[in-house]
Amino acid sequence: MNQQSAKLAAIANGEAISLNEIPFLELLDFQQTISSGVNRGQRVSALFGAATAEPELTFLYVVLADDEENHLHVGRTEVKGASFPSLTPHCPQVHLFEREIAEQFGLKAIGHPWFKPVRYCHSWTGRDAWERPAEAAIQPAVGDFYRVAGEQVHEVAVGPVHAGVIEPGHFRFQCHGEEVMHLEIALGFQHRGVEKALSGGPDARSLHLIETLAGDTTIGHTIAYAQIIEALSHTQKPVRAQALRGIALELERLANHVGDLGALAGDVGFLPTASFCGRIRGEFLNLTAYLCGNRFGRGLVQPGGVGFDLDQRGIEEMLRRIEILRKESSDAINLLWENQSVMARFEDTGRLAETLAVELGIVGPAGRASGLMRDVRYDHPSGIFRFAQMPISTYDSGDVFGRAYVRWMEIQQSIAFIVEQLKNLPAGKVRLLPGALQSETLAVALSEGWRGEICQVALTDAGGRFARYKIVDPSFHNWFALAQVLRNQEISDFPLCNKSFNLSYCGHDL
C-alpha cells in the first residue's frame, strides 16, 4: 500500500468503522487522494455529502474500491460555505456524484464542465446550487441542453412518456441526418426521495423502501441493506441463509439476463428468441416466487438472514425446474449466435472502448463486455461468495454483442452456481434477529446486482439511527456510457443500444 491510499482507512465489504477512525483530510488533499487512487486503478464506488450541525459545514465521504487488493478505502473531508472546486476535470467518474452533492446540499461545484441538476428536486439544506427561488416548483428536464448547431443539424426529443411499458426519462439527440452526434439524457422523473426517507431509520418502512429502490433488483439491494444492518449490529448471519441469498441473487440475474437477451432479439426483429426468452424469464421469476411467494423476492432477504426456508421437497423441485430451464434457455439463446442477421446487427453497434469504460467507472456486464475485470462477487466477496467463487465473465468487443454474450456466459454460471448450492445447502437456521445498531459508525456494503455494483453506505448518529443513508445503484455509473456509445451511431440503433445496457430509471432517481 503506498502513501496515498494509506491516507484513507481500509475496510472490507460488509464491515463497519467507527466515525472517529475515518481519516479526515483537507478538501484538496482529499480530492488528490481520490484522483491518484483512480489513476492507480481504483474506482469511486460512492462520493457523497452529509449534513453537519452547522449549516455552513458539509462533510463529504468517499468509498474507493480497490479491486486488485480486494478492499475499500474510506475517507472524509469538509466543505465550508456554499461551493467547492470540482474534481471532475481531473477525474471524470465523479461527474454525477458532484452534481448530486450540489443538488442535495446546495453546494456549487466550481469548474464542473456540465453543471446541471441530477433529479430536479429541492435541496435538503434550503441552499440552492443554481440559485432557484425556494418557493418555485422545479420542472424536470427543463434547462440548458447540449446543442449542436449547423445546417441540417436537428434535435430529436423523446420522453418522459415512452412508447412501451417503460419508466420515464427524457432523451435529447443532436442529429445530422440519421447520425447521432450527441445524446443527453435527463432523468429524475422517478425521484421519490428515498435517501431522505431512510434518515432516522431503521423503522418499519426502511426495508420496503430498499426493496423498491429498483423493483427488478430487490434481492441485490436488500442483500446490501441486510449487510449494513448486520455490520452495524454485529450479527453473524447463518450460513444456510447466506446460501439462500446467493441462490436468490443468481435467480434475479437469470430472470433479467434472459429477459434482456429476449428483448435484444426483439429489437432486431428476431422473434423466436424474443418470444421464448420472454416466457423463460417469467419461469425464473416463478422460481423466486416458489421460494418466497413473490416473483421479485419481496420479503425474502431480511436483516439477519432470510424470511423463508426450503425443505428437501422444495430443493428437489427447484433442481427439477432449473434443469428444464437450463435446456430451454440454452436452445433459445444459442439461436442468436448462429443467426447471421442477428449477429450483423449486434456486432460493432454501440461500442464502448475499454479506456472510456475505465475513465467513467462503468460497472457490471457493461463494463465486463468492454474487458473490465470487475465483479463484486469476485473482487469483494461477501456471504456465500467467500466460499463459492464466481469466475468473472468478460469479453473485449465492448459492443452490443459483447454485452449480450457476457450475459449468456453469466447465465450459464449462475445456473451452475444455483445447482451446486441447492445440492449442498448447509443445515441450520435461516435467521437471527439483529440487535441495536452501533452508534456513530459507518458501514459499507457492496453487492453485485445483475446490472453491476450496488453500493450502500450508512452513517449512524449518537442513538444508533441512520444519520445518512447513501445508495449508489449501478445505473448511476452507467447511464453516461449509453449516451457516449450513441455518438456517431444511427439513431435507429438507439433502442438496441439502450436495451444492451437496460439501465434503471428508478434506481438512478431514488
Binding site: 433529479r119 428536486c121 416548483a137 420542472q139 424536470p140 418522459p160 412518456v161 412508447a163 412501451g164 411499458v165 417503460i166 419508466e167 420515464p168 429524475g188 422523473f189 422517478q190 425521484h191 421519490r192 426521495g193 431522505k196 426517507a197 418499519a204 418502512r205 426495508l207 420496503h208 423502501l209 426493496e211 423498491t212 429502490l213 423493483g215 427488478d216 430487490t218 423466436p272 418470444s275 421464448f276 420472454g278 416466457r279 424469464r281 417469467g282 421469476l285 416463478n286 416466487a289 416458489y290 418466497c292 411467494g293 413473490n294 416473483r295 421479485f296 419481496r298 420479503g299 423463508f308 430451454e328 436452445d331 433459445a332 439461436l335 448462429e338 443467426n339 434503471s504 430509471y505 428508478c506
Partner: protein
C-alpha cells in the same frame, strides 16, 4: 432456419388456458387476499397495526386497506395469535376505492364489475391502453409487460398496450405519481380521446405504496377518475389479467 423450427417445436405451445380453462400454477406461498380471524385477537392488541409499514390496518377495528397494503406479511409475523393469514385468492380488483377497505367480518370482496353498457360496447372486444409509469420501482411495469408474452398473450382478448395516447382508449397507470411526473401524466390523460378509462395498478398508484406521505410523491392517482383498481406490490400477473378481464366483462360472476 432448420434450427429455429426445431427449437420452436421443442419449446411447444405455452399460452395459458385461463379464463376458459384451468388456472396457471400459482406459487405455494402466493400472497393473495388477506384473511383475519378476529376472534383470535387479544383485546387491545395492536401489534399488527404498529408494524405495518404503511398504516394499512385500522388499529381498533382491524379493517384493512388493500389499496395501501404491500402484502409484505410483516403483520402476520408480528401477530402472536396467528390471526392474520394471506390466502392464495388472486382476485383482488375492484371498481370503487372504498371496496378495497375490507372489514374483518366481510367474507367476500366486492370484485370489479364490468364497464357500463355504452363503454362495454366500445371497449369490450378491443381495449387499447397507454401505459404511464409515474414513479415506483418498475416491478408493476414488469408484470404488466409479462402479460404480452406468449405465456399470457393478452392480445387474444383484444387488449393491447399502444405507443400513443392518441391511439388509446385509456391509461394504465403505475407508480405513486412523483411530483416530477404529475404534469406528464395529466398531459397524457388529456391526449386520450373521450370516452376513456383509467386503470391503476399496484399499491403505489392506488395510495402511494411504500412512498406514501413523502414530499416528492402524490400518494397515487388522485386527480383522475379511476375505473379499475388492481392492488398488490406488485400484483401477480394473474391478478392484473383477472382485473382487466372483469372490466371488459370476460369473467363476469365467475367465482
Amino acid at each position: 432456419m432448420y434450427q429455429e423450427i426445431l427449437t420452436r417445436f421443442k419449446q411447444g405451445y405455452r399460452t395459458i388456458k385461463f379464463p376458459e380453462g384451468p388456472l396457471p400454477p400459482l406459487p405455494e406461498h402466493l400472497r393473495g387476499r388477506p384473511l383475519f380471524a378476529l376472534d383470535k385477537c387479544a383485546p387491545d392488541c395492536r401489534l399488527c397495526a404498529e408494524v405495518c409499514p404503511v398504516a394499512a390496518i385500522e388499529p381498533a377495528t382491524k379493517a384493512l386497506d388493500l389499496g395501501k397494503c404491500l402484502f409484505c406479511t410483516d403483520c402476520v409475523q408480528a401477530c402472536p395469535a396467528g390471526a392474520i393469514s394471506f390466502s392464495r385468492d388472486y382476485r383482488l380488483s375492484v371498481r370503487r376505492r372504498e371496496d378495497l377497505l375490507v372489514s374483518v367480518e366481510q367474507q367476500e370482496m366486492v370484485l370489479a364489475a364490468e364497464l357500463e353498457r355504452r363503454l362495454l360496447k366500445l371497449f369490450g372486444r378491443s381495449l387499447k391502453l397507454r401505459q404511464v409509469s409515474a414513479g415506483g420501482c418498475n416491478a408493476c411495469e414488469a408484470d404488466v409487460n409479462v402479460l404480452s408474452t406468449i405465456g399470457w398473450d393478452l392480445g387474444r382478448f383484444g387488449i393491447q398496450v399502444v405507443a400513443s395516447p392518441r391511439h388509446a382508449d385509456g391509461l394504465l397507470i403505475t407508480g405513486p405519481v412523483t411530483r416530477n411526473m404529475e404534469l406528464a401524466l395529466l398531459k397524457t390523460w388529456e391526449a386520450v380521446a373521450e370516452p376513456k378509462v383509467v386503470i391503476v395498478v399496484g399499491a403505489c398508484a392506488i395510495a402511494g405504496g411504500p412512498y406514501r406521505g413523502l414530499a416528492e410523491v402524490g400518494d397515487g392517482v388522485q386527480k383522475l377518475p379511476v375505473d379499475l383498481y388492481i392492488p398488490g406490490c406488485p400484483p401477480h400477473p394473474l391478478t392484473i389479467l383477472d382485473g382487466l378481464l372483469r372490466l371488459i366483462g370476460r369473467i363476469e360472476n365467475r367465482s
